[in-house]
């Protein structure tokens, strides 16, 4: 142990005694403010009563309550997963409040607490006026309740349903009942079962046959109250020949204790439908010593049910103390296409174990995976992916590329790809590399008078370009900025 530490010291680049770097190192999490509004919460703890109470508060129909209870009972029988390369402090599931909502129940956007709107202003979410300017329809989830949905009318004209999950359960019960849990069954995994039992809100999107959603849909999640978990549930159904692009952004205020976030996202693409799902995740990552931060356990899965359908996941993961997330595609329909583009950045003590699963079932199915991992500080960043070609998937094709970039001596970058092929007509390819930022590239930038920080962020930007290209414009800009902020203080 001592030996390796000595070695490390010998080769470490001279630490720059630069006040600027110091300042950047101590830079605070920009979205880390707490909004002071009254909220109603359920007492901490989880039991059948809590689940019933939660369901009652939300005025849910009987079937929904039963569905939740079934999930809860199943959850009780499951062990916590421990296979990921994550070091997780034990989670006290009884110490979490499973519901928190702003007290004054909002009726419309105009009635929304101005302080809340201010929060979104600070975050730069164009909720009201700015929504129109940006042309983005936003369904903002504040702690557990959807506070207002913009652009309802415009979407309704196109026949698109875009509303909070609670509303969908009340008003589009049949649709929800048909699709909810059909991609991620209640007992799918530990966190999905927990979510199924206690999910408080989320978004519901339904794109009818032949409709191309006229604008990009967006949700912004924010965990505000103390000791609350956020368990949102998103369901997107795209009927035949439809198209939708959905954006999701997440932040949380700074707190010393860890907060739990266990979401489930289900996508259903019917024949020739296309769903594009983009995420920028910037939950509070904890401080440089690993105190606090969000535990982010997310189950995301898309089902290409119809022939020629396509589901594309793009994610930029810079936040959270722990990320456990594998957006997947089940390629059931013939010639359906799955894509996964990911940038995962970890710094300080962050841990990420993220990747994807591509399950090829239909004939001529194609999938593409591009994953970029960047680790700095003392963080640990793993790609874990599965490409599975089932017997009937004639002519299936997969291409996977995983690159890792290491910045610093104490971080880890890992790649665990699984390839399981049962069809001799399939072609599966995987490539991965790990390296640090090349000295040549850095030297070149420095010789052109570009500062080290800027050079690193340029090189990192280039490293991620393939993924950023897949993001909608506004998000790409935000993602780039996020990366820069997250990496500050990582070099030197």
């Amino acid at each position: 142990m001592n030996e390796s530490e000595n070695m490390t010291r010998e080769v470490a680049a001279p630490v720059r005694d630069n006040a600027e770097v110091e300042a950047a190192l101590n830079r605070r999490y920009e979205a880390g403010f707490v909004t002071d509004i009254e909220s109603t919460s359920l007492p901490p703890g989880l039991s059948e009563d809590i689940v019933r109470q939660l369901s009652a508060i939300k005025g849910e129909p009987e079937w929904m309550t039963e569905w939740r209870l079934a999930a809860y009972r199943h959850w009780l029988t499951m062990p916590e997963p421990d296979w990921a390369k994550l070091d997780i402090a034990p989670i006290d599931y009884q110490g979490v409040s499973y519901y928190s909502a702003p007290k004054a129940g909002p009726k419309s956007l105009d009635e929304v607490d101005p302080k809340l709107l201010e929060t979104y202003e600070k975050l730069g979410v164009p909720l009201h006026e700015r929504a129109k300017l940006a042309g983005v329809a936003v369904d903002a989830v504040f702690d557990s309740v959807s506070v207002g949905t913009t652009f309802r009318k415009e979407l309704a004209e196109a026949g698109v349903i875009f509303c909070s999950m609670s509303e969908a359960i009340r008003e589009h019960g049949d649709l929800v009942r048909e699709y909810l849990g059909s991609v991620v069954p209640v007992g799918d995994n530990y966190f999905a079962a927990l979510n199924s039992a206690v999910f408080s809100d989320g978004s519901f999107v339904f794109i009818p046959k032949g409709v191309r959603c006229p604008m990009e849909l967006s949700t912004y999640f924010r965990i505000n109250a103390m000791n609350t978990g956020q368990f949102e549930r998103t369901l997107i159904v795209a009927e035949d020949d439809s198209y939708v692009s959905y954006l999701e952004g997440c932040t949380a205020p700074m707190r010393d204790e860890n907060q739990l976030h266990a979401a489930v996202v289900e996508l259903v693409a019917l024949e020739r439908a296309q769903i594009k799902y983009s995420t920028v995740q910037n939950w509070y990552p904890g401080d440089e010593n690993g105190v606090g931060g969000i535990y982010n356990f997310v189950t995301k899965r898309g089902d290409c049910r119809g022939a020629d359908s396509k589901i594309s996941w793009t994610q930029v993961e810079t936040g959270s103390a722990i990320t456990w997330k594998y957006p997947s595609c089940v390629l059931r329909g013939d010639r359906s296409v799955g894509e996964f583009y990911s940038v995962a950045l970890t710094h300080h003590r962050q841990q990420a174990d993220t990747g994807t699963k591509m399950i090829h079932i239909g004939k001529g199915t194609k999938s593409k995976i591009v994953a970029k991992g960047i680790s700095a500080g003392r963080s640990s960043n793993s790609y874990r992916g599965l490409v599975k070609i089932e017997k009937g998937a004639d002519g299936a094709r997969n291409y996977t590329q995983c690159d890792s970039l290491l910045i610093g001596k104490k971080c880890g970058a890992h790649t665990f790809p699984y390839m399981e092929v049962k069809n001799p007509g399939a072609i599966v390819e995987h490539e991965a590399t790990t390296s640090k930022i090349s000295d040549d590239q850095l030297f070149y930038c420095l010789s052109r008078g570009i500062g080290e920080e800027d050079a690193v962020s340029m090189i990192v930007d280039g490293f991620c370009k393939q993924v950023f290209r897949e993001l909608p414009m506004e998000f790409a800009v935000e993602a780039k900025k996020l990366l820069e902020v997250s990496l500050e203080g990582a070099v030197g």
Partner: protein, 441 residues
């Protein structure tokens, strides 16, 4: 987990109870300890990550006695059958895990000491104490390593003295008699290559009869500073043989080891190849091919740990699965903190030739240092249609064209073997194993 022990475990414990003590207190204690560990854990199950693709349910139901040593010692074996071209040095033959002096030749050139394990223990056990009483460093939880440590009564101690370059390769033959149904045998190898020394070792697996048997072989290999080891593994057992093998190599500063592996036979074969690069500048290269048909199941687990500076490793593995076979490959590269200057690469390509066959591959990178170059690539696919078409357009029949391309596909893995006669022989064996018919259709 702690349900009733499987028939396999019960039979192994019974077999161990019947073994005579060695008379060496520390060795008996070590055996007992390993058997206890084995009994506590039982055979690994598929939900354990390392055995995810290799189910042992069928094996767990088989109660295997230890192969009878007297019968193994008396079995008539045609020594010519064991010979390999280009391998004309000393030969050490084990039949069902029992050393056969009559089939072996242990002249031991100057500086090369070759001794059966049982004989070495009887003569002077103390020098072997560290290796045999020491617990496994990693993979300590592996059931088969414990089983082997508890049941292997024979094996080989090979030492090459400092500065000695052995001119002739050492040929180690593990023969399954195939005449003792439902039995198991266990062999332990200890190989030490001294400073600036070099040696070539050929580990050779054959089966002589048709009976179903299980063999486990664990080799502990140490290559001292600037030593060099060339290791060839030829596994040509029958489809009745189950083999679980582990080669664990530790390399000191400047040491180099190269492994060439050809897996052709076996019913269920597990091969764990582990290298620890503990000294600066150590190098480990591995090359391997498996060609499977029928219901064969071959699982190769390669793990290279870079634990010192400026170490390098290169791995190139090819797999072919036909019939109802299943090929499993895991290739892990681990770069420890402080192992700067590491240069590691791994390539694993597979051909899946049948709709009933399956290939599962998992290249892994686990990296804790930043001055590192590490890359891996893996593919699963078929023969290139255009190349096939080209050959056929030149008048080469389909069957032959397939066989040519398949051979070319594997060639890269074997062509770096310096022993030309042996290399050609391996090539011929491979060709004979390749599917001849248009099985893919």
């Amino acid at each position: 987990m702690t349900s009733a022990p499987s028939p396999f475990v019960r039979a192994a414990l019974d077999a161990a109870a019947a073994l005579p003590g060695t008379g060496i207190a520390w060795l008996d204690a070590a055996r007992r300890e390993n058997l206890d560990a084995f009994a506590a854990g039982g055979l690994p199950e598929s939900r354990e990550e390392a055995w995810k693709y290799t189910p042992l349910r069928a094996l767990a139901q088989r109660g295997l006695a230890l192969a009878d040593r007297e019968a193994a010692a008396a079995l008539a074996v045609d020594a010519a059958r064991l010979a390999l071209p280009g391998v004309d040095g000393d030969r050490v033959v084990f039949v069902d895990g029992t050393f056969r002096a009559d089939l072996s030749s242990l002249t031991g050139a100057t500086g090369v000491s070759l001794e059966p394990l049982a004989a070495a223990l009887a003569r002077n056990p103390e020098p072997l104490r560290f290796a045999l009483a020491n617990r496994y460093r990693h993979g300590a939880a592996d059931a088969f390593a414990h089983l082997n440590a508890g049941l292997a009564v024979d094996g080989l101690v090979l030492r090459v003295a400092d500065g000695v370059a052995a001119t002739k390769p050492v040929h180690v033959v593990h023969a399954s008699s195939g005449t003792q149904p439902d039995t198991s045998w266990h062999v332990r190898l200890l190989i030490e290559v001294g400073k600036d020394a070099s040696v070539d070792v050929i580990e050779h697996y054959v089966t002589l009869g048709d009976a179903k048997q299980l063999g486990t072989v664990v080799s502990d290999i140490v290559v001292r500073e600037n030593g060099r080891l060339g290791f060839v593994l030829l596994q040509d057992a029958s489809s009745a043989t189950t083999l679980v093998r582990r080669n664990h190599a530790r390399l000191d500063a400047g040491a180099a080891a190269t492994v060439h592996a050809l897996e052709l036979g076996g019913a269920l074969v597990r091969h764990e190849l582990q290298a620890e690069l503990n000294g600066d500048g150590a190098r480990f290269d591995s090359r391997g091919v498996f060609a499977l048909a029928g219901r064969q199941h071959v699982d190769t687990q390669l793990e290279v740990r870079h634990q010192a500076r400026d170490t390098s490793s290169d791995a190139l593995w090819r797999g072919i699965a036909d019939g109802r076979s299943r090929g499993v490959f895991r290739g892990a590269i681990v770069v420890a903190e402080g192992a700067d200057g590491t240069d590691a690469s791994l390539s694993n390509k597979n051909l899946l030739l049948s709709g009933q066959a399956e290939i599962d591959t998992k290249p892994e990178l686990e990296i804790y240092a930043d001055e590192v170059k590490a890359a891996h690539g893996a593919t699963i696919g078929q023969l290139d249609e255009r190349s096939l078409f080209y050959l056929r357009s030149r008048g080469i029949p389909l069957v032959q064209a397939r066989s040519l391309l398949t051979l070319a596909f594997c060639r890269a893995a074997l062509e770096s073997l310096p022993n030309e006669a042996l290399r050609d022989h391996l090539g011929e064996l491979l060709v004979a194993h390749l599917p001849t018919g248009p099985a893919a259709e």
